[in-house]
Amino acid sequence: MLILSVVVFYFARWAPGDPLQSFYGDAVESMSSEELAAARSRLGLDAPIHVQYVRWLQGALHGEFGLSLKYKMPAMRVVSPLVGNTLLLGTTAYLLVFLLATFLAVACALHEDTWLDRLICKIGTAVYYLPPFWLGVVLVLVFSIQLKWLPSSGAYDVGKAGDVFNRLRHMILPLTVMILSHLWYYGYMIRNKLLDELRQDYVLLAKEKGLTKRQIVWKHCLRNVAPAIVNIMAISIPHVLSGTYIAESVFNYPGIGALSVASAKYHDYNLLMILVLITGALVILSSILAQTVSEIIDPRIKETGVSAWQR
């Protein structure tokens, strides 16, 4: 986390552009150089980068993340209402992606090398390679502008923040983009893992017991693939999260993803830092969680450090 914060802190400040622009807006154009220098020192932007960093770090350790330059209020206050929105969108997409991926993978594994499997594989791959930005724009064109079925942006209509149905309607399009752009990547991974499992000897024994292929895939193979799926899920959190950020930007969904992009654009350093830290924390927490869950599913991991599917 510390390393992450240092790297982002430096890189953000090296990026060309003037943070004062976002603080004062167009007024910067008409300010004299003395005024600019005064503004800089007031905001602490005139000190060398490492001094700025130490200052920021001291604040951060006390829970003070500084002022957002663009919104002119504490960065924490800007971020906190949006975290919920992102988590809602991200988690829903994440769970749906893996749920659907697993179902698709099982369907493929059951019908390996038949037309169904091939069709799913081909369509899945084609859809996966559609750029999410483009996909988002197309969806908005069709469903919001042409058909007027779904809203094109925001998390809820004005005054309807508590309306669950309204929120869901706003989530449909971002979710669709996120699911379509991640689904087959993981679906294909799980499909191949399942097919590997189907080649294992224990499948023969299960068959010899008189089980159907369906029973074998659901009861035996999926169970054995589960730790692998959980591991993939853990590794994929940053991937899906970045997908959330893209979807948020495309659909103007008020979440920390769209905000991150904006804060980087506007040189809103303090805001960017807190967003980066939140993202980093999420990634680390999810890895710990995944390790714990895998150990519960496959007790051998705890004993040997490697799981069965790595052997």
Partner: protein, 338 residues
């Protein structure tokens, strides 16, 4: 004694992109209740494929080319997957080679045994559990109650094979196909598993097809022996006949390669060459190129089965009355009883 398993001119091939692979060619034998038939041969001669094909556990590109299989009087050659599911475990069961991989590593042993019982016998949870305990006792596993809940990785190889055996025996099958059940185990454990198989046969009257490449193991357990080469049975007879009156040069070669016989000369013998690829077999006898006694006709026409006694027959032109009389090598005749 009733005949439980009967193969008539059974041939099985695989359809592959490189052409047809004839894995099993014209195999015929019968198996009676309580009998142990061993099938021996080198790796890749089609033993395992034969075994798995009987239960239809092969990939979809395998197809029966000719002949038929009768299990307990019923012709199962053309059985659908659905019909086979009813036969598997109930009439014919199988024990696989490697007990380390045939059990699902994440599922407790008890559950894996009970799965067979609940599926085949439609037993309820309690009944299945009671029967699973019974089975574990039958295969001589101590403390079965505690072990039901354990996963396979707590078990040794021998114990795992016992568990696989328990699963195979769950629904009182008439025929047990044992595909090299002791090959992956060390020697002392091997002996115990063999004794167990014999005692189970005594208790249940089950018939066994015992596949092995280890003639020492076969000598210990088999009533009858079939020697397989390149997908074909080249010699079949009672264990006595095969071990003490072998007629096929390939059988001589196998027996000559036994380490027990190497002691006198201090070196291990082997059959020169490799078994042929089963894709595009040559005309004539597949063994001819490795056979030091091969006759000209061996390269032109495959030998038929010559009957030596009602129980003993071999496929080699040496048994044709017109062939030169060739004695088996001295080392085969002189050897000590196994």
């Amino acid at each position: 004694m009733r005949t439980v398993l009967e193969l008539n001119n059974y041939s099985l091939s695989f359809d592959t992109p490189e052409g047809e692979v004839e894995a099993v060619r014209d195999v015929s034998f019968t198996l009676k209740e309580g009998e142990i038939l061993a099938i021996v041969g080198e790796s890749g001669c089609g033993k395992t494929v034969l075994c798995r094909s009987l239960l239809k556990l092969l990939p979809e590109n395998a197809f029966v080319k000719s002949g038929n299989v009768r299990l307990c009087g019923q012709d199962i050659t053309a059985c659908s997957e659905r019909q086979m599911r009813r036969l598997r475990g109930r009439k014919m069961a199988m024990v696989f080679q490697d007990p380390m991989t045939t059990l699902n590593p994440t599922v407790p042993i008890g559950k894996q045994i009970m799965e067979a019982l609940r599926n085949q016998e439609k037993l309820g949870y309690r009944a299945a559990k009671a029967r699973a305990l019974e089975l574990l006792k039958l295969v001589e596993i101590d403390h079965p109650e505690e072990r039901l809940a354990m996963q396979p990785h707590f078990f040794s190889g021998g114990m795992r094979q016992r568990c696989v055996l328990a699963i195979a025996l769950a629904s009182h099958p008439k025929v047990l196909l044992a595909d090299e059940p002791t090959t992956a185990l060390d020697v002392t454990v091997q002996a115990k598993i063999l004794d167990l198989l014999l005692s189970i046969r005594k208790k249940t009257g089950i018939a066994l097809v015992f596949i092995s490449h280890d003639l020492g193991v076969v000598a210990r357990i088999a009533d009858r022996v079939a020697v397989m080469y390149a997908g074909k049975i080249v010699e079949i007879g009672t264990a006595e006949e095969i071990f003490y009156d072998p007629r096929h040069p390939y059988t001589w070669g196998l027996l000559g390669a036994l380490p027990a016989l190497a002691a006198e000369r201090g070196e291990l013998r082997s059959i020169p060459g490799m078994p042929p690829s089963l894709r595009g077999l040559p005309t004539g006898d597949a063994f001819a190129v490795r056979n030091e006694y091969a006759l000209a006709i061996d390269y032109e026409e495959a030998p038929p089965m010559f009957s030596i006694s009602p129980t003993h027959s071999a496929a080699t032109w040496l048994l044709d009355p017109r062939a030169p009389q060739i004695e088996p090598p001295v080392r085969i005749k002189r050897r000590q009883p196994l």
